[in-house]
């Protein structure tokens, strides 16, 4: 009976996770998916030291898809995120595979990186453990941009998973090669590295 309850708990937690999040920017593989007024945002997120193999405990059914994924939370306007996050905070998120370049379909307008979150653990007993990452950057998109490279957001952490440093790195050559390989030179991929936001002091 206990096992059965655990199974339904895991199932419900997995369903809850996927239903709570507002829709994100889809990751694409084909430039044909890019409509008028849309652009492809190209970038990467890295965490140093990287996640250990067993660092995430994703036990709810359907939660294994969150392994090595960081949700970059975005907004049309800058605002401070309040934790715990609400489902609406995920609206327009980018589901970035850690250490890999992402290609996200986006409206061709500038947006802000408000922060990030990573699901460290999900159990079948309705509990979830999240790690939060700081934001504070603007992705500048110009009208007519078909593809924009925003850089690598490199988070450094200590042993308590507190973020000690954030560096925006320029890996354009690597991203451009991947972009050309994937989309067959349907560029150009314009470089527009993330710009720090002047945030009001608390």
């Amino acid at each position: 009976m206990r096992k059965l309850l655990g199974f339904f708990g895991a199932l419900a937690m997995g369903a809850l996770l996927s239903s709570c999040m507002a829709a994100g920017r889809p990751l694409i593989t084909n430039m044909g998916d890019v409509g008028p007024g849309e652009t492809v945002v190209v970038g990467k997120v890295k965490v140093t030291p990287p996640l250990a193999e067993d660092e995430q405990t994703l036990n709810a059914i359907g939660s294994e898809g969150y392994k090595n994924r960081l949700f970059l939370l975005t907004g049309d306007q800058w605002r401070d995120l309040q934790t715990p996050l609400s489902g609406d905070d995920y609206k327009g998120h980018i589901e970035a595979p850690l250490g890999h370049t992402f290609f996200a379909l986006s409206d061709a307008q500038s947006f802000y990186i408000l922060g990030g979150t990573l699901i460290l653990g999900v159990s079948n007993q309705w509990s979830q453990e999240d790690i939060y990452f700081p934001g504070g950057y603007k992705a500048v998109i110009r009208p007519g941009d078909r593809a924009v490279y925003i850089g690598t957001i490199h988070y450094y952490r200590n042993e308590f998973f507190q973020i000690t440093q954030v560096v925006i790195e320029d890996d354009y050559a690597e991203a451009e090669a991947l972009f050309s390989g994937r989309f067959g030179g349907q560029g150009p991929l314009r470089k527009s590295l993330l710009v720090p936001v002047e945030t009001p002091s608390p």
């Binding site: 460290l120 509990s127 453990e129 790690i131 939060y132 042993e159 308590f160 998973f161 507190q162």
Partner: protein, 194 residues
Amino acid sequence: MKRFAGLWVLMSVLLAGCGGISPHLEDNTVSTGCFVFGYVDMGKAPCNLDWFEYKQVLPPVKDSVFDFRTYKGAFYREDFIPGSFELVDFGGRGKPFLIFPSNDYYTFKLPVQESGFRIHQTGRVYYVGSYKMTSKGDFFVQNYDVEEIQHPNELELLQVILPNAQGNPWEPLIQQRIAQLTAQGMTDSGWTPR
């Protein structure tokens, strides 16, 4: 009748086993470890403090989650090696309703990025703070939080724990720390555990 009495003894042992490890300091770790302690006021919580778990982050170990000893809201342990640790979760069996014992067990998790502490030297007494549970929910939705409190302070808390260190090599070090805090002007406000 004797059979039932035996069952009760067994049940008591089992239930005591659920409640965590002994409150009495048992290990001679003065030369190899540290004594770490803190307090949670469970007055607003639906349970008492029966267990408190922490995780050893550095140096990494395979089975990294361990139990503190608990006693009247205090949590403490005498064998912390130098390294980095996180407070993970705490909880206990639900408080009884009138004469009816509770069958519910509650666990409260602490936020991962905010509950770490580092231990640098052996033979030291480390205080990680006093906290209380606050209830922000209502009859239908239970919602709890933890906030830091001034009392018990380090001195008051050590006096609560001291009887459990009787005869252990940590006893004189705890007494020494009490004397040191008193000399520094820390006072006992008359706080008593629930």
